[in-house]
Amino acid sequence: MIAEIGLAALWLAAALAVLQMVSGAFALRSAEGEANPLAIYARPAAVMQALLAGLAFTMLVWAFAVTDLSVKLVAANSHSMKPMIYKLTGTWGNHEGSMLLWVGVLALSGGLIALFERRLPERTMSAALAVQGFVALGFYAFLLLSSNPFERLPVPAIEGSGLNPLLQDIGLAFHPPTLYAGYVGLSVAFSLAMGALLTREVNPTFARVMRPWVLGAWVLLTFGITAGSYWAYYELGWGGWWFWDPVENASLMPWLAATALLHSVAVLAARDALRTWTIMLGVLAFSMSMLGTFLVRSGVLTSVHAFAVDPERGAFILGLLALNIGGAFTIFALRAGAVAEGKRFSFSSREGALVFNNVMLSAILAIVLLGTLYPLLTEAFDVRVSVGPPYFNPASAMFAIPMFLVMAVGPLLRWKEDSPRRIRFEVLLLAAILIGVIGLVSFFGQFALLPLLGLGLAAALGVAAFLPLRGRKLTRVPVATWGMVMAHFGIAVSLFGMASEGAFTQERLAAVAPGGSDQVGEFTFTLQSVNPVAGPNWTAIEARIAVSRDGGTPVILTPQARNFWSPAQSTSESALLTRWDGQLYAVIGNQAADGRWQIRMWWKPFVTFIWYGGLLIALGGVLAIIGRVRVDMKRRKAVSLGDERRADLEALGTAPVPAE
């Protein structure tokens, strides 16, 4: 029964998406102020659709929780012996479930704007809801026609085949939902942008409505990428934290577009400039979300040829992608001329700096896109090309370095027009820090160019992040400004972590007999013993390694090499010793023929700053949302208070005198 309720809810939600689309479209055809009898359904349809999609998703979670093995998806991806938490998270650890989550979040965000957003003109809102309905409908069709999560087996399976052990990790509980919510949050930005474009209402009000969605999506993407990077770092067992893997790039590209978008929206809201630019970035950001979904979900990454053999799903998403993006850019091309560009500004102004950096972000996005898609393209012609870190790092740095330099001084500039001479003290200070740090570091050792530049830039950016606060009364600085300061500081912190890891990591790979010792950096480690251990669905060998720094008190680390039995697969569980100035990363490998054990140890100075920085960036975004929403609430209150007063005055002035 569970599966059938879920399926029925999904079909009903799809039907409501049609209603939402049609009703929104009718509202668009009627003139402003005139009520179309069909137009009133868009909002309720969006809300009901959110409830139904939520119900469908809950039903699937339930099926996983009770391990209903008559449902094909559960049988293929779960196992009755799995711990409860991984049964639940397994719901979205597979294709169908994750697409249902995608659609669920899409419907939820559509329902939220339908329910709460009252600032925009009703026609713009209806157009946005129609676009939202259109996008949702495509994905409902995808789920129902080619990846039904509720499909039953003719004969229930006796036991499930389990979940990929790499995914049996608490990281999975949060990573995909946050990323998906981020991806899908951008769909609202997309719908609003299309709505505003269709009704020619691209103005600061629209930007203020769009901003919390862009910020929210961006915060979630930042958080998701940070969590994903840390997860790969500790789970894959070799200390790498970013591989330029297509799946990682699939989440990085929407982030880059969203970062550009949120700065552009800020300019539109504050200065009424960059109108077409904002719309274009809105379309671009969601296009990248959809492209990311396509890359991850179509199977095109494992092999282009596998995709060609069974192209149904991939072709479906590709079709949706072409339809949505193609449609959006067509409307954009037809309407962009009707939207004036907005207020003007000079190069040396805050807008100028933001435009510069948006162009740089777009260029980095283009590099990542090229490096991700090019190997897929050549593979289709049977030429295999590897594009990896040696390509991505320098190619993206080419644009990232000028971007960081402008980012350091941009927030110090005034809106519209400013003279660079006014901030020459700050510029000289930052240049001195940059050159000083690079000089100092290269004095002490030989390092690669990029980590060296990274260290210098991180120091300069770290100071620059706080310069906008100079000469201001700290208690009166708006919350949103604190958000910006924190996010920019987070970039510096993260950059410092990356550069430091690249420059100073020390590695020790050794075969150690039980009782034997070795060294990495300032640490001495002793392999005390190696024992078998067992978990709920795995067995492992666990090493006890005593680690002491500079002869201090030893700490025990227990890395494991795990063997899962359903499905059969082995993983390394690294052991981490976190200190304020870095992390010691220990892995136990195989036993050599002579009885010694392979131990891998890394001392990675300040590597944790990469993720602390990511968290600071996300937190900065949260502060910005809080600040903006609070200001909006105040403004709304003031406006309604003013309206009331005006109405009162009018009532007093022209009220007809009662006849009696």
Partner: protein, 142 residues
């Protein structure tokens, strides 16, 4: 308690199995060279070679037996005095361009270099158009 014992038993049975599916790795697969300078050369090279059996990992990031063998090749050849580029050429001759992450300009990879160069031009053009003209406008207005 019985379940715990059973799992332990299963663990013991599973141990030799897991030992069997990996041949004893070559000596330099998991061990560093003694000379830090040579090891640094080897590590730098290994980070730019693709593990052919993994998804987007270099041979310096992988547990796959084949990556171990390739690490052994790299380290022992460095020790024998070969230069990193000679080793890369040898591996490319053996496994094809696919094994090297460091792209070289060739008939199949030139767009990877041409497009970024084009991108720089586009970026410059966009910036000049969007930001350069404003100054002229401002000048006209004043």
């Amino acid at each position: 308690m019985i379940r715990v014992l059973l799992t332990f038993l299963a663990a013991l049975i599973a141990l030799p199995l897991s030992a069997q599916d990996t041949m004893p790795p070559a000596p330099y697969a998991y061990n560093q060279l003694d000379d830090p300078a040579l090891e640094a050369q080897a590590t730098a090279l290994m980070h730019t070679l693709r593990c052919l059996k993994c998804q987007s990992q270099s041979i310096a990031d992988s547990d796959a037996p084949m990556a171990g063998d390739m690490r052994h090749q790299v380290r022992s050849r460095i020790l024998a005095g070969e230069s990193p580029e000679e080793i890369r050429a040898w591996l490319v001759a053996r496994y094809g361009d696919y094994v090297s992450y460091t792209p070289t300009v060739s008939s199949s990879t030139w767009p990877l270099f041409a497009i970024p160069a084009l991108l720089i031009l586009i970026v410059a053009a966009v910036l000049l158009r969007r930001l350069g003209r404003r100054r002229v406008d401002a000048g006209d207005a004043s």
